[in-house]
Symmetry: C2
Subunit: 210 residues, 2 copies
Amino acid sequence: MELSERQKKIIEIVKTNEPISGDKIAEQLGLTKPTLRSDLAVLTMTGILDARPKVGYIYSGLPFDPLLQEHLFDVQVDEVMSNPVIIYPHTTIKDATTSLFMYDCGSLYVIDEESKDLIGLVSRKDLLRSLLNNQDLDLAIAIIMTRMPNLVVTYPDMTILEAGSLLSAHEIDSLPVLSRETNQVVGKLSKTKVVQHFIKLGRELKHEQL
Amino acid sequence: MELSERQKKIIEIVKTNEPISGDKIAEQLGLTKPTLRSDLAVLTMTGILDARPKVGYIYSGLPFDPLLQEHLFDVQVDEVMSNPVIIYPHTTIKDATTSLFMYDCGSLYVIDEESKDLIGLVSRKDLLRSLLNNQDLDLAIAIIMTRMPNLVVTYPDMTILEAGSLLSAHEIDSLPVLSRETNQVVGKLSKTKVVQHFIKLGRELKHEQL
């Protein structure tokens, strides 16, 4: 269901002022009541608003709030991303593993010291493999990291649906978020954050029902 | 928006028979057209159906299909879960690590050989820690696993919203799915599967719009 901008405004007004008469709603919008008639009809017929005689309009608690729905898949990566743990190509395998435990994260991003560009990524699995192979833990992480351009990345203005499709298709733990201008790392989009986003909104949507 | 069962049936009929007249819809439902009048009014006013004069009703492609929406958060764990990789308490750390790479998974579930009950879980992080500590790789996994009752678990009939809340709150990679009757492991709900579920439905919902 696609609500018009005016219908969304009416919902917001009712939410914060309920119960409120049609006249008062019209007043707040600077419109006449007859102008709003069809909007109010749609909103009550769909069960979004409840019209109580002599009381006014009440927000009746949708099972699915169209306003929240828009947010579900269209939210931008920069609203959901978290801070990445950054290391350098010369960081030792031992220090990288320590950082992983210290910050309790699933992957570390490796950047060039001068340009600050993303040049690689190390996952728990990369570290596990190197420890299993009895690799010298004082070796530089550059030796075992996965390098650009073999990394899947995202950008701050991608939607969570686009970025989530990448996470989902490649079955990876996180996506480095790069600035479109500079190619520098500005964040990390982890599977955890994506799950938390959907669950948080899901709980909000369901609470509307209670 | 909460559609009635009859309204959902009307949508399904239009989806598979479009364009279709109101009379034909009524016929398929074994009802009279006047009985359907208010349902058809709601469905056209909300933009779910499009009524074209002399043509009939057409499914107009909602930005958000209420039928899919129901599925979004209410789907049961057993519809989303995958097969877990099972090991035994005497499995060596070395063999467990090999299984992890062999089946490319994030965690292994440890069950009792006789009762088949879940008794523990080993994550990539547990293995990484033990390798870092130079633990003897021939030691039994029972020594390093996280044990019941310190595991967060789910059940086949939980909704993805409930199980996802557990994954989200505990920031863990997967939940063992236990049978309510026997306490035996029947599946694994990974963060990857949860992300894939939301992204898959998100893409279906958005396609409706195109």
